[in-house]
Symmetry: D2
Subunit: 360 residues, 4 copies
Amino acid sequence: MSSTFGTVFRVSTFGESHCRGVGAIVDGCPPGMLLTETDIQPQLDRRRPGQSAVATARNEKDRVTIQSGTEQGKTLGTPISLFVANEDQKPGDYSEMAKIPRPSHADYTYQMKYGIRASSGGGRSSARETIGRVCAGAIAEKFLDETYGIEIIAWVSSVSNIGSHEPNLMTISRTEIDQTIIRCPDRKAAAEMEALIRKTKEEKDSVGGVVSCICRNVPAGLGEPVFNKLEAMLAQAMLSIPASKGFEIGSGFAGTRMKGSEHNDPFVNKGPRLGTTTNFSGGVQGGISNGEPIIFRVAFKPPATIGRQQQTADFAGNETILEAKGRHDPCVVARAVPIIESMAAIVLADCVLQQRSRFP
Amino acid sequence: MSSTFGTVFRVSTFGESHCRGVGAIVDGCPPGMLLTETDIQPQLDRRRPGQSAVATARNEKDRVTIQSGTEQGKTLGTPISLFVANEDQKPGDYSEMAKIPRPSHADYTYQMKYGIRASSGGGRSSARETIGRVCAGAIAEKFLDETYGIEIIAWVSSVSNIGSHEPNLMTISRTEIDQTIIRCPDRKAAAEMEALIRKTKEEKDSVGGVVSCICRNVPAGLGEPVFNKLEAMLAQAMLSIPASKGFEIGSGFAGTRMKGSEHNDPFVNKGPRLGTTTNFSGGVQGGISNGEPIIFRVAFKPPATIGRQQQTADFAGNETILEAKGRHDPCVVARAVPIIESMAAIVLADCVLQQRSRFP
Amino acid sequence: MSSTFGTVFRVSTFGESHCRGVGAIVDGCPPGMLLTETDIQPQLDRRRPGQSAVATARNEKDRVTIQSGTEQGKTLGTPISLFVANEDQKPGDYSEMAKIPRPSHADYTYQMKYGIRASSGGGRSSARETIGRVCAGAIAEKFLDETYGIEIIAWVSSVSNIGSHEPNLMTISRTEIDQTIIRCPDRKAAAEMEALIRKTKEEKDSVGGVVSCICRNVPAGLGEPVFNKLEAMLAQAMLSIPASKGFEIGSGFAGTRMKGSEHNDPFVNKGPRLGTTTNFSGGVQGGISNGEPIIFRVAFKPPATIGRQQQTADFAGNETILEAKGRHDPCVVARAVPIIESMAAIVLADCVLQQRSRFP
Amino acid sequence: MSSTFGTVFRVSTFGESHCRGVGAIVDGCPPGMLLTETDIQPQLDRRRPGQSAVATARNEKDRVTIQSGTEQGKTLGTPISLFVANEDQKPGDYSEMAKIPRPSHADYTYQMKYGIRASSGGGRSSARETIGRVCAGAIAEKFLDETYGIEIIAWVSSVSNIGSHEPNLMTISRTEIDQTIIRCPDRKAAAEMEALIRKTKEEKDSVGGVVSCICRNVPAGLGEPVFNKLEAMLAQAMLSIPASKGFEIGSGFAGTRMKGSEHNDPFVNKGPRLGTTTNFSGGVQGGISNGEPIIFRVAFKPPATIGRQQQTADFAGNETILEAKGRHDPCVVARAVPIIESMAAIVLADCVLQQRSRFP
């Protein structure tokens, strides 16, 4: 059951990096919603590696197919099966990699857990696993947009020790985010981040970073106390993304250094609803959305695959030197942006459907 | 289903602050384990408020009763029902509190979600809800101790901007932790923290802090990729605790500022198993435990209930001044310690039982 | 998780026959519903053994207490904890019963499954386990009555080879059912059944029977294809009741002998909705309710506990003679009536809440 | 979540009759098991319609592809995605069928539930939905065979009012079953059944029947009391199969007419284990397998699609005559045989994996 997420809006993903393909089943999507592949492909394109490559090349890859659950462009309320073929379906050779678990990769732990593992490319721990999430997330986003006009926007707020100015949270858009390759809306910081990443690549090393996310127009009342609190589900969702190491909502870790008199968000009349003048809560109180924007951040470690030689041990415990071959991505945060948006959308869609059960 | 947590080792909690009582059902606990109330009460006592008060008074309160699932001191493999009576079973009066939602409390969001809410004391968002978790966690801990000798120890690592030296992670114990009221093993820091909390109390304000936790002797192979990764389940568990705002594992947010060549944990022969020389991963790689200690931190905001006057709005949207009456706790982190240990134990016990299903 | 039933309206039961008590947690009940113990006790009284005994005696036993989830007589939308104390909380002696598994009882299988078992009275396989179901079912019934005016009525339709005339399905009521001890509305058949049961009791033997159930005013659209079809969930619910051996809906097994041209239920205009002129479908088509009454039957075997001597083997495999001591019930169908109603109510309440998630 | 079945061994199916394809994801299958398409295809072939048609034609249809979860012919312990393309991927025209709900079909109820429905072929209520179950069931069977040598064999025991002699339950095999088209091992009865079906087809009518199933070599201890009792999960599984109307285990409905002294299964020493001399329990006591064969029966109604004219009403409530066009199957029981085996295998595999969690 580990590959299924959600209670009413449920997503089950499948696929290794070198099997026939990857994808997901979305069960519980409301019926009668307009949906075709064109609603999903754009976010899938944003997830793709090599974003700076020529557009034509990009369009030929990672095409999603809806295999079931819709007819004549509308959802039937039945399971929506989504499939993306793998280009490289041949597992690699059982050579060096088979004998040496890559440091801070999942080779060793998969072997210990399952007694077997995909022979190359990371198998289920590969970044390709996130394709199914992004497909499902695009459907969730469409539902959220149509029901409440909910907008979910993530961006890179830091890379290594390069921070950035917070964008205007009320207006920041994906268009704005996508104007830099690193997906940081602070142009000056973005330039520095990109320079650092290029330098890091030359050094055959990697760097980490932080992605911020805002969800606007979320109605009050979402989240299921006590174990499925909105922040708890977001935390699970975010920590399930490969390479993530931390999650914080609202004031987060910085909030631990504030006084209650500073941190409390005073209520104020915001016309049709009660709002707050500050938002240290991050849009959630007691595990339930309060109508203010949901704001959270996710920490990503530097990618474990680096070109440098690494002193380590093989599976048998013998000391050895590992030198990774081939291309590798020195920083994953830009690509994590659509994955975070997708997981946030899945969480919110599930919360909306659960909340509906309470009132006729 | 929001009050149930876990897949095979499943905990369902119940109870508001002013109903007859609070507690939990633990379903899926293995049969034949020795278990009586004396295995549970100590951790429940550690959770109690007023730890510095006279011992006699303390012992009379929050007594757990096992209502089912054991016979002659052994688990039967059937649901274990745990009950703790509430002392104050009369809900408060519908006065000021009923009209004014407390800032950064759950009054407003519960009302928006359910259209009704417990009239006083926080209802289900009250700290008393965590009693059921601690009862269940004590059972999980016993199971983990007996099967793998797993030790779970949490402590306060910072209060407001007062940090502390990291204890010896291999030897730190609950006995050592409990030697200061604030549960910080760095005695000097503890004294400063306690002084700050006393000062804060005088100022009718509150402060936040960070709790660290280590889980030792966790075998490799625990955690269920991809959505129920060990760190994802810990994140959900921790963010479901009242007042928590962040979670990080291993290097966490600080790790985002490291290079891959620094952050990767090299493998080394550790006798019967492969280990790592550093532990920036926090004991988890690819969502699965690697045999090294699990290390994580949880951020807690300053408690929302403060004695100071607060400018806010009532439910009708009218500006008003709120002044909380009665006692309130200016810092929750010391009490959060056993709750964090309990939730970690529940997560790990569930992971152990799920992993068992793979091999005969 | 085996003691939890339902997806949105979720019931978790606990309790053995000789522990402190039995009960249930109901999670997911909509908020704002009027609910006190007086809504639950009547159905619990109907479940009680010794229905023909003096009323006063009866009223002192099996009193339910709502421990959480309501305030001032209204549901809060939080888990409702229900408790009924056991009168006899001392497990029996480890004598004959401990060495000899009772034929067609659960002694042997519990021992094989758990490696331990409650020392007397059946433990979790005891009829007392159904108390939690009936408590939860009464809440489900109240919800169904208030939302759709749904009526659920079960009755005994056969005992051993004594059948009965089908009552008027549109008017049959619990009042009518309860006019005979055996709960068969056909007075003549009821008299014969009761005579047979008395005779069987004298012979220290037992008999089985069939209970029929109708659910009226069920709206079209309930049931979750494909695995949680309405009839599938009813089948699971009914076969989970102790001593049940079969389930059939609508035409059931008799329908296997009909032609399609006879069995198909023609549609007809029934004013506000489309109805059918016959109801061989039993109110369900394709796993979804069609607006006609849900009709099903449940088979109960003769109780395994009989006073007669039985040739059998002890746990060690030695031939032996077992002679049950004490009182025993020669026929369980009359008491099964409220249990069946309760389980049907839980299934329908869960279906209603799940269906709500589809449309705002 | 309605299209997912199982707790640890979990099957999620997808697909309508006229979308791109149908299939399933199996999550929780133990790692390291040999598995290729050739383990699945034979049971899928047995499920196919037109079994009496030329073999060549048959082999070209309904070919399963494993899309993920295996490598070099072994399971990885990750989700196994299974896909079977639909031949006819164009939904039918919105003509007569669109206006007139077919009596005793799911057209009306799907429309009422979802507000939309697949325009032809039954969509999700189509028999093609069972392809995913059979694929998943074949995997479950392989696991059960390898771990315990469990054998699951179903056969047609009656068609309309034509019964049959019970086969030798200890030796009956699929080979033996498949020697007649109707899959009834009683050759004389089989001939009568086939004659009746041919006659029924000429009359443009349909007939129902009963399928029996035996599961041999099931170890004691499977089944999860109280709601997931083995018989309860089997009942859910069987009633989720299209056109099924009833389920009974062991003595079933006939057992209601027996005395306890006849019905109780006496224990006897069967060498390494305790067994019973009779098996009215059907291999299950208290919801847990006892080591004797599991025996159950499933009732199937006559198929709703018949060639005869039917007096009915259209969606608008107007009286009309419906005359079904095209081919239709006058009896589904022979094809139900592998579906029942598959669902039984899925239930048992899930029970085995759950039981493993109890003991190291």
